[in-house]
Amino acid sequence: MDYVLQFGPVFQRFDLIWSGLLMTVQLSIVAIVAGFVIGVVFARMRTEGGAVARGIAAVYVETIRNTPFLAQLFMVTFGIPQFIALLGMPIRPAPYWLAIIALSVNLGAYITEIVRAGIDAIPRPQVEAAESLALTPTQIFLRIKLPPALAKVFPALTSQFILQMLGSSIVSVIAVQELTSAAGRIQSETFRTFETYLVVTALYFGLAFLLRAILVSIAAYAWPWRRRSAN
């Protein structure tokens, strides 16, 4: 092997890396928040809804969880413009929005299952106690079921959020200018393919570490009543 690793050219294009990094962070945050809201809504449908609501939620969850994200991304990328054209609106959605939609819808299905498991673990008498205090179903869901459920499944949520952030690299295939795209551009300019990918991979690793640290701090702040030794 007569290849010498040179990282210099890669760092010269740090501006591209930085903007890609910011875009990845932005995509991740929006997808995490949107996916979380979607997940909670569908988790409620699955645990409290009638047959129709449960059915719709089940179809959503199973379809997303049993198909690859790449295929979902293409369905969104081709499908939404066609749908908009059908409505006769002269809008051309930017890849950014298509990526956000695909990422959020994808994450939502996984969050639904995780949150549902947390809600199912709430002892029935606790819900009965809340019902007996004359709380409405929505009050019970938001104040009595959701907080302990989220605290319980937080490690699983954290893992899923990090997976989603890493998975955002896939949206590079529809030309969203995030970190993986930046890597592609840099390596095609500098021909330092291996070094570029090493640097970018290290950055993803750093992002994962950072995201985990942030989420763990949120958990410690939001749930002081959960002692560390307890599960």
């Binding site: 002892p123 009965e128 106690a129 019902e131 007996s132 709380l135």
Partner: protein, 242 residues
């Protein structure tokens, strides 16, 4: 005025009949104790009184509310009826104070300052004023049950239901809970209590009911019932528990 008026109620789970044609009244200020073996239907009967269990036949009127199984009607009824369960009463993610203030805040829309004042008042009644800011996992079982009683009292109910509230407690802790219930009875609260604590039944109950196989087979003031049981089932029950 009757606080509970149950007429000919029946209830089944799938094919099993749990309550057979039961009629029952409770007057305001009266303490009624339900006794019976497990499976006799006593807990089910109690839970029918605040709508946690649905009856298939008969009528129930509690605290002036007719039992209608719709969300809004049940909530209206439950504003006037408090219940304490055997376990898992308190919400673990809130302090004791927050537990108590939750329902008055959300349901009766009580303003903040008054809420905290009332909460402390009712906590003081059960002897737990110093635990206002504690989380439930820091409390003993007996303290948790007393806090649960306080939480129900904060809604100023007309009737209190107790479902074997001391059965899951260590024996040393049952005393403090029974004492709170006794003083509650003294203060004139109408209560229906399912319990195995015979001493409590003797001392505090105005009336005792013995259930067997979904029916009320003995009914009357405790001194009378305990000294002269008329049915073989109740005789056997007394022999076992005393």
């Amino acid at each position: 005025m009757s606080v509970v008026k149950a007429k000919n109620i029946s209830k089944s789970y799938n094919k099993t009949v749990v309550l057979r044609d039961i009629s029952l009244t409770v007057e305001s200020g009266e303490v009624l104790v339900l006794l019976g073996r497990s499976g006799s239907g006593k807990s089910t009967l109690l839970r029918c009184l605040n709508g946690l269990e649905q009856i298939q036949a008969g009528s129930v009127e509690v605290a002036g509310h007719e039992m209608i199984y719709s969300g809004e009607a049940l909530r209206a009824l439950r504003r006037d009826v408090g219940i304490v369960f055997q376990q898992y009463n308190l919400f673990p993610h809130m302090t004791v104070g927050e537990n108590i203030m939750l329902a008055p805040h959300l349901v009766k829309k009580v303003p903040r300052k008054e809420m905290a004042r009332k909460a402390r008042e009712v906590l003081d009644k059960v002897g737990l004023l110093d635990k206002f800011d504690a989380y439930p996992d820091r409390l003993s079982g007996g303290q948790q049950q007393r806090a649960a009683i306080a939480r129900s009292l904060a809604m100023e109910p007309k009737l209190m239901l107790f479902d074997e509230v001391t059965s899951a407690l260590d024996p040393q802790l049952t005393g403090e809970v029974l004492a709170v219930m006794a003083s509650l009875a003294q203060s004139g609260m109408a209560m229906v209590v399912v319990t195995h604590e015979m001493g409590f039944a003797r001392r505090v109950a105005d009336r005792v009911i013995f259930m067997h196989d979904g029916r009320i087979i003995e009914e009357g003031p405790p001194e009378q019932l305990f000294s002269a049981p008329s049915t073989p089932e109740f005789k056997a029950f007394l022999a076992q528990t005393d």
